[in-house]
């Protein structure tokens, strides 16, 4: 969901300013596990660095109920909102988990607004709609030193006017006991001022220092001066203190001048003006395949090859949750599903593992033999029919062979979230355990069961499924005989059926309630089948019928369609009793027809 926020009274200056890159933070502000709050041209932003080094710049507002994201938590992989603990992924800002509904995968449309980011001169730069590059200044080509940044309650123009006559001493001149005032009177300054920065050079007694004073426009009446010195002096602390002192004097002068002139009404924060409605992306049909390339291909274990797939587009790969899989379009026209093994925040690639199976229909062989590092592939967006619930204290993960792949992603998520788990990997031979190096971080929560016979496997399962409790759950993935064994043992041991979750690796999705019916679209003339277990929204998408959606839970009303004929089973929470009784509206993401035929005005 992209959102455009503009000040309705914006003039040309503001529009132009929105297209430039502006410095919004220093490297000092990107402490590990911190969230930095700043404001640019009236819009609040949150800036945070993930553990993998990626710097995120997002609108500082959770799209659930508008709470500032900057009061939340950065756990190194995700930003967790303080209000309801919704989790948002590094890079994509997509929601990966909603604790109020632990069994549901959040809709992909639940994504906060992101802004482009780049680093230069020790500063973090961003823009709402960048045209062009971050300023390049030759003065800062070599070593640099970030000086103390100061906020100032004055408009950018006034700040630059004063910066033009600012004075400071060259670094080499500074020594204890120096008469700074006298020396400042003698220093020779030259200044080059542009729209958002001033480059100043100070010369005294054969010494010279240059600095660029960048100015961040906070709003109409406030700015931040972000100076960078074009050298790395030996007397760092003395230089920092000197510049901080003279700049503080300048700020006092600027603010005094600002108080004298008639102040412009402050640019209203975008958070205070009525919001323009978010532009909900019209998803036409099933998402077009994504183009990725193989960044890396390697043997992850005996007979198992791993692939790292990276995005072709400048946009990051779509958000995924633990347990998700992608369709991979293979040479020869085959399509195969593979689980994403990445943990939370590991969002610069998708990492999959493929077992070479000569007896299969040929997909794995094609990947092993015909796809190489550097090659391009087409894949689908991640889909999740195996979401990880996190509202229990302990999860038992049972993996049979290559079935470990979705469970590795789950283990990483549970590990990052600080939740209890045990990962049991059943393999025929020890050298078949994939990603052994990554699994090492789980310590004694990882259990290998090597070369067990079916009977021994059953006995082992009886042990590890021995003590069901309301606070535990089981996820199992592997070949059908193994899953049948888990089902039988867990039932014997008294586990409730809804606490044990299976992914059959031959991709059988669990069927939900609802009978099938025929869907007729009056305007486009299409006749489609909606099978039991599929939603109207899904069927429309698969057939390239334009339809918008947002929460995909029946709560927000975005996916509503007009009903021309048919009896309805309303499963949403949005329509009121009158609307339901009237039967003219259906929320296509959750509701169905009870009649054989449903006719929509689409």
């Amino acid at each position: 969901m992209s959102a455009t926020r503009t000040n309705p009274s914006a003039n040309v200056d503001v529009a132009h300013a929105l297209q430039r890159w502006h410095p919004i933070a220093t490297q000092y502000d990107l402490e590990p596990r911190s969230l930095f709050r700043t404001k640019l041209l009236g819009h609040e932003l949150v800036v945070w660095r993930a553990d993998d080094g990626f710097v995120n710049v997002w609108e500082n507002r959770c799209l659930h109920r508008g709470v500032r994201l900057s009061i939340g938590t950065n756990d190194g992989a995700e930003l967790i909102c303080r209000y309801h603990a919704w989790r948002y992924s590094n890079r994509t800002a997509g929601c990966t988990y909603i604790p109020a509904h632990p069994a549901d995968s959040p809709a992909r449309t639940i994504t906060n607004k992101t802004f482009p980011v780049t680093n230069r001169y020790g500063l973090v730069w961003s823009s709402q709609d960048p045209q062009g590059q971050v300023p390049e200044l030759s003065v800062l080509d070599g070593d640099t030193l970030g000086l103390r940044n100061l906020p100032v309650n004055a408009p950018v123009g006034l700040v630059l006017k004063h910066l033009a006559t600012h004075t400071f001493l060259p670094s080499d001149v500074l020594a204890p006991g120096l008469d700074v005032v006298a020396e400042l009177a003698a220093v020779e300054m030259s200044a080059e001022v542009s729209t958002y920065s001033a480059t100043l050079r100070a010369r005294l007694a054969g010494n010279e220092s240059s600095a660029v004073f960048f100015v961040q426009p906070v709003d109409a009446n406030r700015a931040v001066i972000r100076p960078v010195l074009g050298e790395a002096p030996f007397n760092t602390v003395a230089v920092l203190r000197h510049h901080a002192a003279v700049l503080a004097d300048l700020v006092r002068d600027i603010e005094r001048a600002a108080a004298d002139i008639e102040s412009r009404p402050a640019l209203p924060s975008a958070l205070e003006v009525p919001l323009e409605l978010p532009t909900v992306a019209v998803a036409v049909g099933r998402s077009a395949p994504l183009r990725v390339s193989v960044r890396r291909k390697w043997a992850a274990a005996a007979g198992i090859t791993a692939f790292e797939l990276v995005s072709h587009a400048p946009d990051p790969l779509p958000t995924f949750q633990p347990g998700a899989h992608i369709d991979v379009h293979l040479p020869g026209g085959m399509v195969r599903q593979y689980s994403i093994t990445n943990g939370p925040g590991e969002t610069d690639c998708y990492r999959i593992a493929v077992k070479r199976d000569p007896a299969s229909r040929g997909g794995s062989v094609a990947l092993h033999d015909s796809v190489h590092q550097g090659d391009e592939l087409q894949i689908s967006e991640p889909r999740n029919s195996f979401p990880l619930r996190r509202n229990v204290s302990h999860t038992v993960l049972i993996a049979g062979g290559i079935g470990a792949t979705p469970l590795i992603a789950m283990a990483k998520a549970l590990h990052t979230n600080g939740l209890g788990f045990d990962l049991h990997c059943f393999v025929s031979q020890a050298d078949q355990l994939a990603f052994r190096d990554q699994l090492a971080e789980f310590g004694d929560q990882l259990h290998e069961h090597v070369g067990l016979s079916p009977q021994e496997t059953g006995e082992q399962l009886s042990v590890l499924l021995a003590e069901p409790s309301a606070n535990k759950q089981v996820y199992a993935c592997g070949p059908p005989p193994m899953l049948d064994a888990v089902r039988a043992v867990s039932s014997d041991q008294g586990w409730p059926a809804d606490a044990v979750h299976f992914e059959y690796f031959k991709n059988t999705t669990e069927l939900e309630q609802g009978s099938s019916f025929v869907l007729e679209l009056a305007r486009s003339g299409l006749t489609l089948d909606v099978p039991s277990g599929a939603t109207v929204l899904e069927v429309l998408r698969e057939n390239d019928v334009p339809i918008v959606s947002s929460c995909e839970q029946g709560a927000c009303g975005t996916c509503a369609a007009t009903v021309l004929e048919g009896d309805l089973l309303h499963q949403d929470v949005y329509l009121n009793p009158t609307e339901r009784a009237a039967g003219h509206t259906i929320l296509t993401c959750v509701s169905r027809a009870t009649s054989n035929r449903l006719v929509l005005d689409l």
């Binding site: 502000d29 930095f36 709050r37 938590t73 603990a85 906020p151 602390v237 920092l240």
Partner: protein
């Protein structure tokens, strides 16, 4: 057992609760109906607990003390065997600690006053209170920024927080309740998050924990 005359929303009482938690010293809270009951201003309270009519007050086995900062000094001196919270052995550290305790008096009269005005309708000059808070926060932000550049984390020099950090923390952490926007003080914000990670740290309503709740 120490008795603490306490009120859940009081920043000054919170300072005492914080130190007692960090020192791992047991105590009993006597809940004073400060607001809306104004129990601390009743004749009975003035007679039996504190003639000046304010909280916090502690009663340590008959030894009664008022004044949040004085109580912090006493508790640190009495119960902190490491001598780190109130560093009497190092004159410079001790001097700086005292300097920032007085700074905390300043935040009480500005940021905390603004908070009491907004929350409970106390009659203070709200504009002066807010302006005063901003002046103090600019000074503190610069001070902490330079501490960071020198590899240090706290208001006083040294690698351990002192009661100075403890005394300044609540008013800074809750300044926005009084309408003092904290956008301009990133070094102060980082110091807040560091302080929240000190072992024994506890929250109060209005202060979020470090990390997920």
């Amino acid at each position: 057992m120490i008795k603490l005359y306490d009120y859940v929303l009081s920043a000054n009482c919170y300072k005492i609760r914080l130190l007692l938690s960090m020192l791992d010293v047991d105590y009993d809270s006597v809940l004073v109906d400060f607001y809306p009951g104004r129990e601390h201003q009743t004749e009975q309270f003035r007679r039996d607990v504190n003639p000046l009519g304010h909280i916090p007050v502690i009663d340590d086995d008959g030894f009664v003390m008022r004044d949040a900062h004085a109580i912090l000094i006493y508790l640190a001196a009495r119960y902190d065997s490491t001598g780190q919270w109130y560093p009497v052995s190092d004159p410079r550290q001790l001097g700086e600690t005292a300097q920032w305790l007085t700074f905390a008096d300043g935040t009480t009269n500005t940021a905390s006053a603004a908070r009491l005005h907004v929350n409970m309708g106390y009659d203070f000059d709200i504009d002066a209170a807010r302006a005063g808070a901003h002046e103090l926060f600019r000074v503190a932000d610069e001070h902490l920024w330079f501490r960071e550049r020198q590899g240090e984390s706290w208001l006083a020099p040294g690698d351990h927080p002192t009661i100075a950090d403890l005394a300044v923390f609540p008013d800074v952490a809750m300044a926005e309740e009084g309408g003092v926007e904290m956008l301009d003080y990133p070094a102060l914000a980082r110091w807040i998050e560091r302080f929240k990670q000190v072992p024994g740290f506890i929250v109060m309503p209005g202060v979020f924990p470090y990390g997920v709740s």
